[in-house]
């Protein structure tokens, strides 16, 4: 029975885990790290870089290094948050014919889902190498405040990466499940999420 990969697709970093013996187990990526920077780049030689390698060369290649793509997931190009970020990020943001967001990377324009799919693709490949089995199913976490469009976009990203997204769950819910709140006595938990891009309680 194939494993279902649990993915925390973060604004700054992403992480992946599997359930083993009823407990979540974080998987290390190909570089031996427990988190992978949510950064995608097309290097000057045309090579696509994802994760730590993309982050390390960001200073030398800012226009073709995409970070914080999660901020644009499920957004319209005219949204005030996008309008603001457009002024801040070094890479180019455009609007597609339907008013959706496009980011310019290399010689092409990509939808945020496609960029996220590149991150998910790397996580999937690294997990497959680590586990020695094919991964086809995943559960992806999203912030509790994500609306339907943002959740759909996250699911679409998984699909592009070749993953059957079984469920989209809220990040604080995932944290509480990992703690095992459903196995213990009746209690109230406060979940703090000290994220790189956001801080939620």
């Amino acid at each position: 029975m194939a494993k279902i990969l649990g993915i925390d697709l973060g604004t700054t970093n992403s992480a992946m885990a599997i359930m083993e013996g009823g407990e979540p187990q974080i998987l290390e990526n190909a570089e031996g790290a427990r988190t992978t920077p949510s950064v995608v780049a097309i290097a000057k030689n045309g090579e696509r870089l994802v994760g730590a390698l993309a982050k390390r060369q960001a200073v030398t290649n800012p226009k073709n290094t995409i970070y914080g793509i999660k901020r644009f997931m499920g957004h319209r190009a005219t949204d005030s948050a996008v309008e603001h970020d457009k002024e801040v990020v070094p890479y180019e943001i455009r609007a597609d014919n339907d008013g959706g967001v496009l980011v310019h990377l290399g010689e092409k324009n990509y939808r945020p889902e496609e960029v996220s799919a590149m991150i998910l693709g790397k996580l999937k490949e690294d997990a497959q190498t680590k586990l020695g089995e094919t991964i086809t199913e995943a559960i992806i976490t999203v912030p509790a405040y994500f609306d339907d469009a943002q959740r759909s976009a996250t699911k679409a990203a998984g699909k592009i990466a070749g993953l059957d997204v079984k469920r989209i769950i809220n990040e604080p819910t995932a944290a509480a499940l990992a703690y095992g709140f459903n196995k213990k006595k009746d209690e109230k938990l406060v979940v703090y999420d000290f994220g790189g891009g956001t801080f939620d309680v």
Partner: protein, 186 residues
Amino acid sequence: MKKHKENEEVIIDDEMSVAQDGEVELVEEEAHADNKIIKMKEKLKRCSAEKQEYLDGWQRAKADYVNAIRRFKEENQNAATTGLVKAVETFLPVLDSLERAKSMGKLPSGFEAVTKQIENAFTTLDVSEVVAKIGTPFNPAYHEAFGQDKTDSVEQDGMISTVLERGWQIGGMVIRPTKVRVYHHK
């Protein structure tokens, strides 16, 4: 004669009553049997579902066990390297501080000896410096860019212009990439 006939009728009535009772019992038995079959089918369905659940759980546990054994073996093999990486990472700031002190002027001979001792210890542990020479191509697999320096030469574009902090590796695994600045041609 009449009495005899009456008796006969009573007997026939009794027989009919018995026959009717028999039919009722039969119907009741059939209904009971049907109920029993339905219940047994339900029970079989539950048992099948439970069996599948237990089978899935057993298969999962078996796969987890096989994977865990494989991972334990790998972790055992990597444990020495992991421990070494952690130890070296702890010592790197010490070496960095000595390096920075050296860049400010000549160090007292004792400090030079300590630096040399750490470097020798690293060599013994198969910890080597990541090659990052000025004028060689920047490679994110080994180097981390912290800034850019303008150049008029097209050939220099993408080459390392300054080494800010030495990088280290164990075997082929980069523990810390070399922090560099990179030439940029406009």
